[in-house]
């Protein structure tokens, strides 16, 4: 390009020089002005042209820029390290508040120590009110959103409490004040009426219902539930207690986990088996399923719920982590199923810390290695040794911050290590976008698109497969209708039609292509869809009746006296056929109504559903196919027609001169010559069908289902973007996935169009050679 610019500059100077040599009187100033003008124009054009081209490239670059972070892996940086705040007692559990500014350490001697995560400075050190002579023998944490903690005591009682943080702004400085509250009162609750120490504990507390599961020193498994009721008349609250003992355990229980809704209880035994109990009825728990969770010779080393409290994460002594959840089978009975497993770590998994809002978790193994995982996406985002010196292992306690951006770890040398995590979009992987994914509580792996829901710990389902299939379905039905119509029309218009008629037909079809798609969509949804439903048989009769009527008319025409035929100029068959086609459409619809009354009791859609079991939506793919045909026929028609019309005359004349009929000339010469252009026309039509938005948005139900039934709707990529983009939060995973959908559309249409363009340019060169 630079060369070209220099070249033209020389040309300009040469031109002015020529003028001078010719002796034309011209002032020096004027000459300079002209040169300046020439240079400025050149610079302006170059700058403007390059700017526009760069802007156009920017689209692609920007889409990619937004999409790429989806596939970035996680990273972790140490932020601080300090001796455990609050003295050298055993740490039972660690927590942080939402922004990971304050940490909580629950110690074995019954203290709750709040400290600043930045430097370990103690904010408050509260001693839990334990009865005299009683020590803590077990501890448990409930669902992190409720921030419930519990300790089991040596006298068979347990204490349930929460940690809370209130924000205030004294002197305009944001200050957090931590506190401990007791939803069931500060007195310990009786779990074991025999008063034996509790050695394992699990707790969940929601609204007014709290359930605890415990294993006593002598191996009994107890479920105790407390419901708080507030009576209208009396002051204060009453607590009702329900309890049951679950009999029959194989081997000593090593881990307990209680479901968020307080309906499922899982126990892990020393032999590596997991029992699944239904504790909906607190007085009569039942065993639902029993499974072997780990490989031969291995044991369960940790068991935790994933956020949402549905999936169980089981870490084993070989460094593997498996995800389990109850799945309902055909007979409505539940069994615990293994959805997926991770095996990136090699040492026994000692701690699992789930994220609060997403389906991700952190796992630490015996070697001090941290793994960051996401279950839905089946992604291993990071495996990194965070505690180097073997003496510091094993990890004593770990806490994930609610926003999943920080991690608090206590190492074996009684030091707390505070890490910052950068892990923006773990939910998306190639597999979760395009493959079958086994989502929580679903019966089997499947393709699903469900991007948002009311609850925070919902598992987003970002499978683009049903959307891409919807796009494809729309395109296929549209092409089935449009390609034959457009190509046959182009053949007639480009080869047989008289010049006068062609001047009318071509603009008409071009106008058809210019119709705003919102109008096509509106008519398809509000007029065509009910019309097709009411005249389904007639619509099916159309492709039979119309061609039959055309052929019949043609044959009758050929039988007419020749003198009459000659009066009508050649190449005006289409005009003659107009009334025939109109009449045929009318006849088909009337006949369809009659057929429908005779064969389908006047209601063909109902008949389809009743007799054949084919569901029928009013706004379905058939309607979209027809409506989109309006949008796709014109580009295919115009490009093919141009190619057919510009096939060199000497080729066709030669063929005719050798005795071929016009039809033979057409099929053996014209179409063969123009076929690359027809192919590129189809590609361009396909590109348009794939990207079309308003028609698919308005003429389908927009449900992301996967099938090829022409009587049902679909949700296309483009319509999905149009529906969800305005509500999507900027830079969230959902936002970026929508950008990815746009990028997919962009690339698909760009591919189709480039193929078409290259083919067309080749053809143009061949024509110029002929």
């Amino acid at each position: 390009m630079g060369g070209a610019v220099r070249g033209t500059a020389l040309e300009g100077e040469a031109a002015v020089a020529t003028v001078r040599e010719l002796g034309v009187q011209e002032s020096k100033a004027h000459r300079r002005w002209r040169l300046l003008e020439d240079r400025w124009t050149r610079n302006l054009m170059a700058a403007g042209g390059v700017a526009v081209i760069i802007t156009i490239l920017l689209i692609f670059v920007y889409l990619l820029y937004v999409v790429l972070p989806l596939f970035a892996s996680a990273s972790i940086q140490p932020a601080a390290s300090y001796p455990v705040p609050g003295g050298p007692a055993e740490t039972l559990s660690l927590c942080t508040e939402e922004y990971a500014e304050i940490g909580l350490r629950l110690t074995g001697d019954g203290r709750a120590v709040f400290f600043k995560t930045r430097d370990g400075q103690v904010i408050s050190d509260e001693r839990l009110a334990l009865p005299e002579g009683v020590r803590i023998t077990a501890h448990a944490a409930g669902d992190p959103h409720a921030a419930t903690l519990s300790v089991g005591l040596s006298n068979g009682t347990a204490l349930v409490f929460r940690h809370r943080y209130s924000v205030s702004f004294p002197n305009d400085v944001r200050t957090l004040r931590p506190e401990i509250t007791f939803p069931l009162g500060p007195a310990p609750l009786v779990i074991d009426t025999d008063g034996r120490p509790l050695i394992h504990l699990a707790v969940q507390s929601q609204d007014r219902q709290t359930t605890l599961a415990a294993v006593t020193e002598d191996g009994r498994l107890l479920v105790t539930s407390f419901a708080v009721t507030r009576s209208l008349l009396e002051e204060g609250e009453t607590i009702t207690r329900q309890a049951a003992t679950i009999p029959g355990e194989n081997g000593p229980i090593t881990h307990l986990a209680l479901g968020l809704l307080q309906r499922e209880l899982y126990t892990a035994s020393g032999d590596g088996s997991i029992h699944y109990y239904d504790v909906t009825k607190k007085t009569a728990p039942t065993l639902v399923d029993k499974i072997g969770a780990v490989g031969h010779g291995q044991t369960v080393t940790t068991m935790q719920f994933l956020s949402g409290g549905i999936s169980l994460l089981v870490g084993d002594s070989a460094g593997g982590i498996t995800q389990w959840f109850p799945v309902r089978d055909d007979r409505q009975s539940y069994s615990l199923s293994r959805a997926r497993s991770f095996s990136a770590q090699t040492h026994p998994i000692t701690r699992i810390a789930p994220e609060f809002f997403r389906k991700g978790f952190a796992a630490i193994d015996g070697s001090g290695t941290l793994g960051l995982y996401h279950t839905t996406a089946e992604r291993t985002l990071l495996v990194q040794r965070i505690i180097e010196s073997p003496a510091d292992s094993p990890v004593e306690a770990v806490a994930m911050s609610p926003r999943a951006d920080a991690l608090l770890v206590e190492d074996g040398a009684s030091r707390l290590r505070f890490f910052r995590i950068h892990n923006e979009h773990p939910e998306v992987s190639w597999h979760s976008l395009w493959g079958r994914v086994w989502y929580e509580s679903r019966e089997h792996p499947e393709y699903l698109w469900q991007s948002s829901a009311a609850t925070g710990d919902f598992e987003p389902k970002f499978s683009l497969t049903p959307l891409a299939l919807g796009t494809l379905k729309a395109a296929v039905y549209a092409m089935l209708f449009a390609v034959p119509m457009a190509i046959m029309g182009a053949i007639y218009t480009g080869y047989f039609m008289s010049a006068g008629m062609r001047q009318i037909v071509k603009p008409s079809i071009e106008v058809m292509g210019a119709l705003p798609t919102v109008i096509l969509g509106f008519l398809a949804g509000l007029w065509l869809a009910p019309f097709v439903e009411a005249n389904l048989a007639g619509v099916f009769a159309l492709p039979i009746v119309v061609p039959a009527a055309v052929l019949l008319a043609a044959y009758l025409w050929s039988r007419l006296p020749e003198a009459l035929c000659r009066r009508v100029p050649e190449g005006s068959e289409a005009a003659l056929l107009l009334p025939v086609v109109a009449a045929a459409i009318f006849t088909a619809l009337v006949a369809g109504e009659w057929l429908e009354a005779m064969l389908f009791a006047g209601d063909m859609p109902g008949w389809l559903t009743r007799e054949l079991g084919i569901p029928f939506d009013q706004r379905n793919s058939l309607v979209v196919g027809i409506a989109m045909g309006f949008a796709v026929i014109p580009p295919i028609f115009t490009i093919s027609e141009d190619a057919i019309f510009s096939v060199p005359r000497h080729l066709t004349l030669g063929s005719l001169a050798l005795g071929a009929t016009p039809w033979q000339t057409l099929t053996r010469v014209v179409i063969l010559t123009a076929s690359p252009a027809i192919f590129s026309a189809v590609m361009i039509g396909l590109g348009r069908a794939v990207g079309e938005t308003m028609i698919v948005l308005m003429a389908t139900g927009n449900t992301p289902i996967m099938d090829w039934n022409p009587f049902q709707g679909f949700r296309a990529l483009s319509a999905n973007i149009a529906v969800e983009m305005p509500e999507s939060e900027v830079n969230s995973t959902h936002y970026r996935v929508l950008f990815l959908a746009a990028l997919v559309l962009f690339l698909a249409t760009f591919l189709f169009n480039t193929v078409a363009e290259v083919v067309r340019q080749r053809l143009r060169e061949r024509y110029s050679q002929l």
Binding site: T41, V50, V52, G525, F630
Partner: protein
């Protein structure tokens, strides 16, 4: 025998295939014409006053009721469906008719449309005295005029069968005048005062953001604000007085069920008796409604009234887009064709530009939202409008971003068309100009561009036509269902590029598919669609005409 031989011969010539291909052309034409007719008939019919029928109807359970309303649709349904609803049809009849009646009075009956079965209709007539009342809310009301009230007291008239329509009309005219006063006050003076108050707030915020505000300046702002607030209160009082004035009159309507309905005249748009109107009256009514449609704002969640803001928004957006797209498109085309070195790179760029014309418009919308609105707009807000944050100024969809997105969407169209025009100019003309001593720039400005101007126009017209009909990207970058104010008004800087706008195409989508009362909205959508189709078709035909003339011109110059 000869017949069969003839048939064979006829098939052998390929003639049936030719006719079949001809049939597809006819079918395509039928489809285009049918579609345009469908829109035209439905769109034009909307404003014609329909007769109000008084129907005696027997419900399936045998109760007899009276219905007033317009018959808007009829359809044949399977007999089984009617029989499910309790109507017996004679044996052997498989379909029965049902009618859609617009009964109006949504505030009384809950619904303003109902289907009735033809077999249940016992008597139907069109009494001339039936009155249609078009209201600003709750849709139409149908019934007999019982009395006109002033301050809640009936006006005595000499007429025995209710007060004359002229009485209502006179009071309606008075109400209309008051309403205009109110609108003038609200939009003009009150609007200006609230705008000034908002400006003062922003000024104060700017001073705060700079830190260490001068107490004198703050006091001045405060004084000014107090003065403006006093002015505002005064105008407010004036408005309230006008409001009382406008609520003086009401009319009493006897509905089909026999109950009376009081309708405040302030809420009435017009009253008419369609059954006693002659053709010319109806034509007058038609034209009034048409004018209202084009020139007024929408009512009732866009399902009634006019679409002026949508027309205005569409035109303004397309205008701004054209201002952007014409120079840049032409410059890019000239650069590619006249200045850039022709080689593989230019060819690649040309293919890319061609392809961009085929990239789905929704992709441009996504780009516009992410890049223009959130990235560029967000940064503009941070740099130039920190005083109004966190409320975004340009960091939210608006007119400017809609126009820019459309400009990027249509720039390939202009480039391709202009380039085609430039390519058609014979080389000898350019060389002739250069040979006579003109510089390249002079050749470009005086010879090449004027000759290519029809192609340029074609490109621009096609771009405008595409932009006018485009909806999908606009839903994301600045078009809304109901914009509170037009993007142009009397407050500085007069043209508000940051405001959201209404748009004809989006109006069709929104009213046709998001409206709670689709049945009532449908005629208006057809009318809007008709308007949009006319705009787009006229623009396209113009472009095609210009292009054809251009081709003729150069074909002549080539020989």
């Amino acid at each position: 025998m000869t017949g069969r031989a003839d048939l064979k011969e006829w098939v052998r010539t390929g003639s049936p295939w030719v006719w079949l291909t001809a049939g597809t052309v006819s079918l395509s034409l039928c489809m285009v014409v049918g579609l345009l007719l469908l829109i035209a008939v439905n769109g034009m019919g909307h404003f014609w006053p329909g007769r109000i029928a008084a129907i005696d109807y027997r419900e399936p359970d045998g109760t007899r009721i009276k219905l007033y309303g317009e018959i808007v649709d009829r359809e044949e349904v399977p007999a089984a469906r009617l029989e499910e609803n309790g109507y017996r049809l004679p044996d052997g009849v498989v379909t029965g008719e049902r009618l859609l009646i617009k009964t109006g009075n949504r505030d009384v009956y809950g619904l303003d449309f109902r289907w009735i079965a033809a077999p249940g209709m016992e008597r139907i007539d069109y009494p001339p005295a039936l009155l249609a009342v078009e209201r600003e809310e709750w849709g139409n009301a149908y019934g007999y005029l019982v009395e006109v009230r002033e301050n809640g007291r009936a006006i005595t008239t000499s007429d025995t069968d209710g007060p004359p329509l002229a009485e209502v009309q006179a009071r309606l005219d008075r109400k209309q005048a008051l309403k205009e006063q109110i609108a003038h006050l609200e939009r003009g003076r009150i609007g200006a005062v609230s705008h000034a108050i908002e400006q003062l707030r922003l000024e104060g915020r700017t001073l705060e953001l700079r830190g260490q505000p001068d107490p004198g300046a703050l006091q001045a702002l405060k004084d000014e604000r107090l003065a403006l607030e006093a002015e505002y209160e005064r105008l407010r009082a004036e408005l309230v007085a006008l409001g009382h004035e406008i609520e003086r009159d009401s009319l009493q309507l006897r509905l089909a069920g026999g109950e009376d309905l009081t309708i405040p005249l302030a809420k009435v748009v017009r009253v008419y008796r369609p059954n006693e109107m002659g053709t010319f009256d109806k034509l007058g009514h038609y034209l009034t409604k048409l004018a209202e449609f084009v020139a007024d704002g929408p009512r009732e969640a866009n399902t009634e009234g006019g679409i002026f803001p949508a027309i205005f928004g569409t035109v303004l957006m397309v205008l701004i887009m054209s201002l952007l797209v014409a120079p840049f498109g032409v410059v890019a085309a000239v650069y590619l064709r006249e200045y850039a070195k022709q080689g593989p790179l230019t060819r690649t760029i040309r293919i890319a530009v061609n392809n961009l014309a085929g990239v789905p418009s929704i992709v441009y919308g996504v780009f516009g939202l992410g890049f223009f609105v959130y990235f560029v707009g967000g940064n503009i807000d941070r740099v130039f409008f920190p005083e109004s944050l966190p409320a975004p100024t340009f960091g939210t969809p608006g007119l400017l971003w809609a126009s820019l997105t459309l400009a990027i969407l249509t720039v390939p169209v202009v480039i391709v068309a202009t380039e085609e025009g430039l390519a058609r100019i014979p080389v000898d003309i350019r060389e002739g100009s250069l040979a006579l001593g003109a510089t390249k720039a002079e050749t470009l400005w005086r010879i090449v561009l004027p000759m290519a101007s029809p192609a340029l126009m074609t490109g621009l017209i096609l771009a405008v036509a595409r932009a006018a009909g485009e909806v999908a990207p606009l839903m994301m970058v600045g078009v809304v269902k109901l914009a509170p104010s037009l993007p142009v008004d009397g407050n500085f800087p007069f043209l508000h590029l940051d405001r959201k706008i209404m748009h004809l195409g989006f109006h069709i989508y929104d009213v046709g598919f998001q409206s709670p009362n689709v049945e009532a909205a449908r005629p208006l959508v057809y009318a809007t669609a008709l308007l949009l189709v006319i705009i787009v078709v006229v623009l396209n035909l113009a472009a095609i005409r210009i292009r054809n003339q251009l081709r003729e011109k150069y074909r002549a110059s080539e020989h």
